[in-house]
Each structure stands twice: as structure tokens, then as C-alpha cells.
């Protein structure tokens, strides 16, 4: 009897990958469903298969609008559909996160090595983090400064319309929660910088933006000022096409600027090599 049960169990497990994809015939589908209802072990196997397919599948992230639509629908829903079961009272780490206004997604691991601020982080992380940074910014009511010229607005819009052109700034020499993103096209020289949570600087200092090349040299892309809320929005120009650079960093410099960085990196990020990033999927570099 046990042999029969074990055989059935093994049969079900072997069917799970196709069950996940919805590619079983009706009879097998029902058989798996029935088994799953009674077998926690196989439900665990199903969870594993579902999770792995989601992690393995080569699918570009969903459009930013989906998140917006979800939150709009939640906001528009009446109180009867809200899950509110107890009076809203924040507690624990969630409450502290809310109070601190740090509703940002997890930062990728910073333990990286290589060109300027470490190895380029994965494209998946870049896209997800940059989209999330952008969305989180939008969520708290950010609206970028009205740019003087319409052409500048259009250039910014063009850059921001492509989430693949977004590179998060998630690295810092300081234990701060600043974050940001740069939008850029590989062959262009326009770079739109968004940064949040930058520390306030003394009156005689400004942030200077540096772009780094593979030769470990850097060029200045100009000085920017953070608002009282630590936010920066700036359309910058790189001397060479963006593809020539492997990283960006903001440092605190005298208000007239410096020829080279003279302080630690307050916020920065690395870019994947453009030649490889033309493909969304990229294996880790061997060196």
C-alpha cells in the first residue's frame, strides 16, 4: 500500500512542472489537483516549481503603469473591500519605515568588486530597482522641476520612458539611505539624474557628478544642488557617449567644483557594459 502511495507521489512530482505551466490534459490536471489537496509535501514541491519558474523565466519586468493601476484601484475601493480588520495602528519595523519615509525596495548587495564601485549589478536588479526607485519617488508625490525649455522636458521624457535605460544609484561610502537613478541611452550624452535622501551640505559645498571610464579615469558632468529634502533632479551631459562610462558617483566638493573627487562617494552606481547589456540576460563575468 505504501509502495502505491509512494509511486503516486513520485508520479505527481514528475507531473508538477507541466502542471505549473498548465500543460497537462484535463484528467492529469484533476489528478494532480486532488493529490495536492491532500499532500503537503507535494504542495511544497509545487511552491518550489512555481518559484523557480518565476525566477528562471526570461521576461522583462511589467510596465510601471501596472503598479500605479493597482494602487489607484486600492485607493478607489470603498471601505467594505478594504481588508481593514483592526484600527490602523502601525507597529514594528513597518511603522518606523513609514515614519522615516523610506519606502524603497531592498538595495542590492553592495559587496562587489571591480570597476569604480564594484562589478555591475545584474540587469534584473538594475531594472527592478530603478523602476522601483522611480515609482517610489512618484508615490511620495514627486514632480520634477519645470524645465525652462520644452526641448529639455522632451529629452527627459524620452529618457525616462524606457525602463531599460535606467540605472539605479545604490552605492555609497556612507551609511545613508540615499538612493537614485540615472536615465541614459547608450549612444546619447544626455543623462537625467534623480537622487533622493542626500545629506545636506555646508553652504560652501555642492555635489559634483563624476562619470568613470573603464580606464579608471573620471570626468566631471557638473555641479548640482540638493533641495532641502535632499533631492536632486538634473539633466546632465556627458562629454562622450554614455556607453563609454562604467559608473557614476556624487561627491561633496567646494562650490566651485574640483578637478577630481576629493571626498568619498555619497551616492553612486555602476553600469553594465553596454555591449553585454544589449542583451538583457548576461552571465557573470569570469574575472
Amino acid at each position: 500500500m505504501q509502495d502505491v502511495a509512494l509511486r503516486d507521489h513520485l508520479t505527481i512530482v514528475a507531473l508538477l512542472p507541466d502542471f505549473v505551466l498548465g500543460k497537462l490534459d484535463e484528467t492529469s490536471q484533476r489528478r494532480v489537483t486532488r493529490h495536492l489537496e491532500a499532500c503537503p509535501t507535494c504542495r511544497g514541491e509545487l511552491d518550489n516549481a512555481l518559484n523557480l519558474l518565476g525566477l528562471l523565466a526570461d521576461v522583462p519586468p511589467p510596465p510601471l503603469a501596472v503598479r500605479e493601476r493597482i494602487l489607484q484601484r486600492v485607493a478607489a475601493s470603498d471601505s467594505s473591500s478594504a481588508p481593514r480588520a483592526i484600527p490602523s495602528r502601525r507597529a514594528g519595523r513597518w511603522a518606523r519605515a513609514i515614519d522615516a519615509g523610506t519606502l524603497l525596495p531592498p538595495a542590492p548587495d553592495r559587496a562587489r568588486e571591480g570597476a569604480p564601485f564594484g562589478q555591475p549589478i545584474s540587469r534584473r536588479v538594475l531594472i527592478a530597482a530603478s523602476a522601483a526607485v522611480f515609482l517610489a519617488t512618484a508615490l511620495v508625490g514627486w514632480s520634477y522641476e519645470q524645465q525652462g525649455a520644452m526641448g529639455q522636458e522632451q529629452r527627459i521624457s524620452a529618457l525616462m520612458s524606457d525602463p531599460r535605460a535606467a540605472y539605479p544609484l545604490d552605492d555609497s561610502d556612507l551609511p545613508i539611505t540615499a538612493s537614485g537613478v540615472v536615465f541614459a541611452e547608450p549612444t546619447g550624452r544626455d543623462v537625467y539624474l534623480i537622487a533622493n535622501g542626500l545629506p545636506a551640505l555646508p553652504g560652501n559645498q555642492r555635489y559634483q557628478v563624476w562619470f568613470f571610464t573603464t580606464e579608471d579615469t573620471q570626468v566631471s558632468a557638473g555641479l548640482v544642488s540638493a533641495g532641502a529634502d535632499g533631492a536632486v533632479r538634473a539633466l546632465l551631459q556627458t562629454p562622450a557617449p554614455f556607453a563609454d562610462y562604467v559608473g557614476v558617483g556624487l561627491t561633496a566638493e567646494p562650490e566651485s567644483g574640483s578637478a577630481a573627487p576629493t571626498s568619498g562617494m555619497v551616492l553612486g552606481g555602476s553600469f553594465p557594459p553596454i555591449s553585454a547589456s544589449a542583451r538583457i540576460d548576461r552571465a557573470p563575468r569570469s574575472s
Partner: protein
């Protein structure tokens, strides 16, 4: 809110910027990324939509990839992704931590919705269509099984996450090939036909590969959430 950055030092120009003195900031301790998923669910139950946003940022990509593979089209997957998170909002109080991780709960909602949609459509899901418009039902996906493995050319390169790619590299080549086709949306019998292998062989390779990944992914920092975590 922000602490001042120390005065810049007169150090020689350096391509690699060095560490500044730490700036303490209480907010660093309370970043939303430190809030565990179950606490987000509790906040949703208490009516905090921001918690849903954080949960979405954390899990939407994986759930969306899953939906897209099952349905075979992005448009349908976008609709269902919306539905998944709306249901998560509405049914947050039904989440039971003892029954598994939040990711598993979300995947389960997504899977049920996707299978219902497949049934509703009354047909097998379409194979994922690549950006070039080429139907993947052709042999296009064989391209991801490169006969000359290399850092950029083997099946791992189909996977965006570096940690995942590293974990895949530890698998035998035959298992990677099976997984690459599975991740592209092929059933096991379709994979067997494409590889010219017996179905039983494909199933056992699949089984071993899934088990090994389950064991090894956490060591590579992949944000895997398994049922028994």
C-alpha cells in the same frame, strides 16, 4: 533629516573614491526593505496601501514572469498581475505564515488565476513570443542551448540574475539545457522532443535540477523563498 558630509580632504585625485567618515542616520535602521513580508501583510490588513506597494516592488517581477510563461502573452499577464495584488490586498487576512512564505502565497494566487484563464481561453497557452515576432514554438529556443558553453553563451545567459546564473553553472550541462527550455515555457514532452531525449530522462533531469537549485540558490543570494523557510 540629513547629516552634513564632512569637509572634503585634500587627498590626491583618485579614480576610486575612498570611504568617508560614517554619517549616522536613524532612518538607516528603519528602511522599508527591513520590514519582513509578514509584517507588510499585517500592515495591509490594517489598511496600509503603502505596504502593498512595497510588497509589489519585492515580488511583482517573479510573479509576472510566472504569469507570462503560463499564459504566453504579456498583456494577459499584466491583467492578472494586477488581479493577483488586488486579491492579496483583499485577502491579506487569510495569509497564514505557517503555510509558507509570502512569495509562495502570491505565486499560488497567480497560478490559480492563470490556470483559470487558460481554461477560460479554451486552448493551450501560446508559447511566449519573442520581441522579434518569432514564435518560440519553432526551434528558436534551441539557440539558448549553445553547443560550446562559455560565460556568455550557455543556458545561464538566459537568466537575468547573476546569482541564479552562478547557481545554474553548478548544474550539469544536460540539466541546464532542460531548465532553459522549461523557463522558456516548454512542457517536458516538448523538451524531450527538442532534445531528442526520452521523456523519462527529461523528467528525472528536471526533478534533480529543481531540487539542486532549491538547495543552492540561497547560497548565491537569490531572493528565493521556499515553503519551509
Amino acid at each position: 533629516m540629513a547629516s552634513a558630509v564632512p569637509e572634503p580632504r585634500n587627498s590626491p585625485p583618485a579614480a576610486r573614491i575612498r570611504v568617508l567618515e560614517p554619517v549616522s542616520r536613524a532612518a538607516a535602521d528603519v528602511s522599508a526593505d527591513l520590514v519582513p513580508d509578514p509584517e507588510l501583510i499585517a500592515a495591509m490588513v490594517a489598511g496600509e496601501p503603502e505596504a502593498l506597494g512595497v510588497l509589489y516592488d519585492r515580488h511583482a517581477n517573479v510573479v509576472f514572469a510566472l504569469l507570462t510563461r503560463i499564459l504566453g502573452d504579456r498583456e494577459g499577464a499584466e491583467d492578472l498581475l494586477q488581479e493577483v495584488f488586488l486579491r492579496a490586498w483583499q485577502q491579506a487576512r487569510t495569509y497564514d505564515e505557517a503555510r509558507g512564505a509570502v512569495r509562495c502565497w502570491l505565486n499560488g494566487i497567480a497560478h490559480n488565476l492563470a490556470l483559470n484563464e487558460v481554461r477560460r481561453r479554451g486552448r493551450r497557452p501560446r508559447i511566449w513570443r519573442r520581441a522579434g515576432g518569432e514564435e518560440d514554438g519553432s526551434d528558436a529556443y534551441i539557440a539558448c542551448i549553445d553547443p560550446a558553453p562559455g560565460p556568455d553563451s550557455h543556458a545561464c545567459s538566459r537568466v537575468r540574475d547573476v546569482g541564479m546564473a552562478q547557481a545554474l553553472e553548478q548544474l550539469p550541462r544536460a540539466q541546464r539545457d532542460v531548465l532553459a527550455l522549461y523557463a522558456a515555457g516548454f512542457s517536458q514532452s516538448e523538451i524531450a522532443a527538442k532534445l531528442g531525449e526520452p521523456l523519462g530522462t527529461v523528467k528525472s533531469r528536471m526533478r534533480r535540477a529543481l531540487c539542486q537549485l532549491r538547495e543552492s540558490l540561497p547560497a548565491y543570494g537569490v531572493d528565493a523563498e521556499w515553503p519551509d523557510d
